[in-house]
C-alpha cells in the first residue's frame, strides 16, 4: 500500500518535474559547466580552461559598462513604475464614470505585443518628425535624437519600460486594494486621519506583500529586458543602452562565443538569486501577511 502511494506521488509530480528539469535545471547546470570550457570552433573541440573565462570577464570593460547600465536601469525604472502603479491603482479603485475604460487603458501596454510597442515608441522618438520632436517643435525647440545620443539612449528606453510595467503592476495593486476592508479606512478617518495619513499608515503597509512580489518581479524583468533594446537602439550607441541580457545575447548568438556567454549568464543568475534572497530578507521584517 505505502509502496503504491510512493509511485503515485512521483507520477503526479513527473510532468511538472520533467519540464522543470528539461528547461530550467539542466540548462542551468550545463551553463555553469560550459563556463569552465573554451568555445568549440570548427575542428577544435571545447577545452577545459578553469577560471579563464571569469578572469576575462573581470577585465572586460563592456561587461562592467552593461552591468552599470543595468543598475541604473533598475534604479530608474523599478521605484518609478511601482509608485505609478500604486497611484493608478488607488485612482481606479475609486468609483467614477468610465472607470472600466481607464482600467483598460492602464492595462493596454501589457496586452500589446512587445514588438508593436517598441515600434510605436520608435516613431515617437524619431528625430525630426517623431511625436516628441513635433510637440517640442511647437515650442521652438530643435530636432532631438533621444535614442541616438549616448547620454539619453538609456533614459529613453527606461521611459518605455516604465510605461509598460506600471500598468502591469497596477493590476496586482488593484487586486490587493480590493482585499483591504473599507472599514479600516473608515475607522482611520473617524480617528482623525486624512487621506495621506491613511495611505502612509494603513493602505501602504497592507500593500507590502504585493510590493515585495512586484519588486522581485520588477528586478527580474529589468535584468531580462532584450526586446525593446533590440528594436529601439540595438544596444548602442557605444553600448550606452546595452543591458546584461542583451550583451549575453550578442556574445552568444551574434559573435558565437558561447563559453563566454555561459560565463556571463552564470554571473547574471548569481546576481538575480542574491537580489531575490536579499529582497525577501529585507522586506520580511516589514511585511505583514494576513
Amino acid at each position: 500500500m505505502t509502496r503504491r502511494d510512493w509511485i503515485h506521488g512521483w507520477l503526479l509530480v513527473l510532468p511538472a518535474m520533467a519540464f522543470l528539469v528539461l528547461f530550467t535545471h539542466l540548462p542551468a547546470i550545463t551553463t555553469i559547466w560550459n563556463s569552465f570550457f573554451s568555445t568549440p570552433r570548427g575542428r577544435r573541440p571545447a577545452m577545459f580552461v578553469g577560471l579563464d573565462n571569469y578572469e576575462r570577464l573581470l577585465n572586460d570593460p563592456i561587461f562592467w559598462k552593461v552591468l552599470t547600465n543595468n543598475l541604473w536601469f533598475a534604479l530608474g525604472t523599478i521605484p518609478t513604475s511601482i509608485a505609478l502603479a500604486i497611484a493608478m491603482a488607488l485612482f481606479v479603485n475609486r468609483r467614477f464614470m468610465g472607470r472600466g475604460f481607464v482600467r483598460m487603458a492602464y492595462f493596454t501596454p501589457t496586452v500589446l505585443p512587445l514588438i508593436a510597442v517598441a515600434n510605436i515608441w520608435l516613431f515617437f522618438y524619431t528625430p525630426g518628425f517623431g511625436l516628441i520632436d513635433q510637440v517640442i517643435g511647437l515650442f521652438g525647440y530643435g530636432q532631438t535624437n533621444l535614442l541616438g545620443e549616448p547620454d539619453t539612449a538609456l533614459a529613453a528606453i527606461m521611459v518605455v519600460t516604465i510605461w509598460k510595467e506600471a500598468g502591469f503592476f497596477m493590476i496586482f495593486y488593484l487586486a490587493a486594494l480590493q482585499t483591504i476592508p473599507p472599514q479600516l479606512t473608515e475607522a482611520a478617518r473617524i480617528e482623525g486621519a486624512n487621506g495621506w495619513t491613511i495611505f502612509r499608515r494603513i493602505t501602504f503597509p497592507l500593500l507590502m506583500p504585493t510590493t515585495l512580489f512586484v519588486s522581485v518581479n520588477a528586478v527580474i524583468n529589468s535584468f531580462r529586458l532584450v526586446d525593446h533594446i533590440f528594436i529601439l537602439t540595438g544596444g548602442g550607441p557605444d553600448n550606452a543602452s546595452s543591458l546584461l541580457l542583451f550583451y549575453i545575447y550578442e556574445t552568444s548568438f551574434r559573435f558565437w562565443d558561447t563559453a563566454y556567454g555561459a560565463t556571463l549568464t552564470v554571473v547574471m543568475l548569481a546576481l538575480l538569486c542574491l537580489l531575490a534572497i536579499g529582497q525577501f530578507f529585507f522586506f520580511d521584517r516589514k511585511v505583514h501577511y494576513k
Binding site: 476592508p181 473608515e186 475607522a187 478617518r189 473617524i190 480617528e191 482623525g192 486621519a193 499608515r201 494576513k290
Partner: protein
C-alpha cells in the same frame, strides 16, 4: 443660548434626515434628538436603515437631505475626521498590521498628542479594559472578545464626547455578550459620553439604553425609554418587536361584547394587544382559549391556542400547564390591554377601557406585567 452638552457629552440632533440611493429610500424624514450623555439605542430589524443613520451621524455617508447637528453645531457636510467622535465597528476594523498598543493610540498619533501623554492614556485605558498583557500582540493573535476590547479601547482613549457603536457585540458568544453589556453600560456611565448604539437585539437595547429609537423600513416607529417601549408601544410594529414571545395582536371583536363596546367608543375598528404574560387563567370568563399546544420552558410554559379565530400565546407557571385540547377561561387587567387602530396600526388611547371590560363581565385579573422576561436571541 441653548445648552448642548455637559463637559463630557454632546447632544446629537437629526432634523428631517433622508437618504436615497437612486430609487431606493433608505431613510425618510428622521427627526430625533439624542440628549448629551445619554445611552441611546437604534433598534430595528435588518435593513431598517439604522446602520445608515449611524453612518450619517459619523460622517461616513452624507444625508440626501436634512441636517445633522452635534453639540449644536451643524456637521451635515463635515467629513468624518472633523466630527470629533469615536466609533466601534461591527467587524471591529482593527488595523491588522499594528499591534494592540498601536491600534489603541492610532487616533492620538494622528492628532499629534505628545508621546508622554499617549503612554499615560494608554496605560489607563488598558488597565480599564484588562488588556495589559496583550499590548504587543497583533489583532489576529487575539480572541474575539479581546479584539472587541481593543476596538473599545481605541474608541474611548481619546475621551471623545460622542461614541457610536454599530452592533459591537454581535460577533461574540452569548455568555460574553451578556458580560459585555454590563461593562459597556458601566463604561459609558463612568466616562459620561453620549452613546449612540445600533443593534437589532431588543435585549441589548432594553438592558442598556436610556432611550430607544425603534426603526422600521427607514422610518422612526417610536422614541421612548425601554420601559415605555414595553408598556406603551406606539404602533403594532413596536408591540410585536419588543418582548419574547411577542405581544398577541388580534381583532378586537375576538373580545366579544367588550371588543364591540371598545370599538363603538373609539369609533373605528381596533386591533387588541395582550402580552403572553398579561393573560391569566380565570375561574370563569366569557373568553375561552382552545389550547392547541404547550411549549414547556422550565420555570414557565407557553400555551398556544385560539381565541375565536385568532391565534394566541399565554404564559403560565411551568408546574401545571393545561392539557392540549382543553378550553381555558381567560382574564387580564384592563391596563394590560393595548389598543391600536386596525388600519394605521397606531396606538389608540381610550379613557374608559376598565369600565367597558367590567360592564360585559370580564373578570379583572391582576396585572400581568412582571419584569419582562426577555430571552436573548441566539444567532
Amino acid at each position: 443660548m441653548t445648552h448642548h452638552g455637559t463637559e463630557t457629552g454632546r447632544d446629537i440632533h437629526l432634523a428631517k434626515v433622508s437618504k436615497h440611493w437612486d430609487k431606493t429610500t433608505a431613510l425618510s424624514d428622521i427627526n430625533i434628538t439624542i440628549p448629551a450623555g445619554s445611552f441611546t439605542a437604534l433598534l430595528g430589524p435588518s435593513g431598517c436603515g439604522k446602520s445608515t443613520l449611524l453612518r450619517i451621524v459619523a460622517g461616513l455617508e452624507t444625508a440626501s437631505s436634512g441636517q445633522v447637528l452635534i453639540g449644536g453645531k451643524d456637521v451635515t457636510i463635515a467629513p468624518a475626521d472633523q466630527r470629533d467622535l469615536s466609533m466601534v465597528f461591527q467587524s471591529y476594523a482593527l488595523f491588522p498590521h499594528l499591534d494592540v498598543a498601536e491600534n489603541i493610540i492610532f487616533g492620538l498619533k494622528t492628532r499629534r498628542v505628545p508621546r508622554k501623554e499617549r503612554q499615560d492614556r494608554l496605560a489607563r485605558v488598558t488597565a480599564l479594559l484588562g488588556l495589559e498583557d496583550y499590548l504587543s500582540r497583533k489583532p489576529a493573535q487575539l480572541s474575539g472578545g479581546q479584539q472587541q476590547r481593543v476596538a473599545l479601547g481605541r474608541a474611548v482613549i481619546a475621551e471623545r464626547s460622542v461614541c457610536l457603536m454599530d452592533e459591537p457585540l454581535s460577533n461574540l458568544d452569548a455568555k460574553l455578550r451578556q458580560t459585555m453589556r454590563t461593562e459597556l453600560r458601566a463604561l459609558q456611565k463612568e466616562l459620561g459620553f453620549t452613546m449612540l448604539y445600533v443593534t437589532h437585539d431588543q435585549v441589548e437595547a432594553i438592558t442598556m439604553a436610556d432611550q430607544v429609537v425603534l426603526m422600521n423600513e427607514g422610518r422612526v416607529e417610536q422614541v421612548a425609554t425601554p420601559h415605555d417601549l414595553y408598556e406603551k408601544p406606539a404602533t403594532t410594529f413596536a408591540a410585536r418587536f419588543i418582548g419574547t414571545p411577542p405581544m398577541n395582536l388580534f381583532p378586537a371583536e375576538e373580545l366579544r361584547e367588550a371588543g364591540v363596546a371598545l370599538e363603538r367608543s373609539a369609533g373605528r375598528e381596533l386591533t387588541a394587544g395582550l402580552r403572553p404574560e398579561a393573560l391569566h387563567i380565570a375561574e370563569d370568563s366569557p373568553l375561552h382559549l382552545a389550547v392547541t399546544g404547550i411549549e414547556y420552558l422550565g420555570a414557565d410554559a407557553l400555551v398556544h391556542g385560539r381565541l375565536g379565530l385568532a391565534p394566541l400565546i399565554l404564559r403560565v407557571p411551568g408546574q401545571h400547564p393545561p392539557t392540549v385540547g382543553s378550553k381555558i377561561p381567560l382574564a387580564f387587567a384592563a391596563q394590560d390591554l393595548h389598543l391600536f387602530d386596525a388600519s394605521t396600526g397606531k396606538r389608540v388611547a381610550l379613557p374608559d377601557v376598565a369600565s367597558s371590560l367590567s360592564r360585559v363581565g370580564l373578570p379583572a385579573g391582576s396585572t400581568g406585567a412582571p419584569a419582562p422576561s426577555l430571552q436573548t436571541e441566539d444567532h
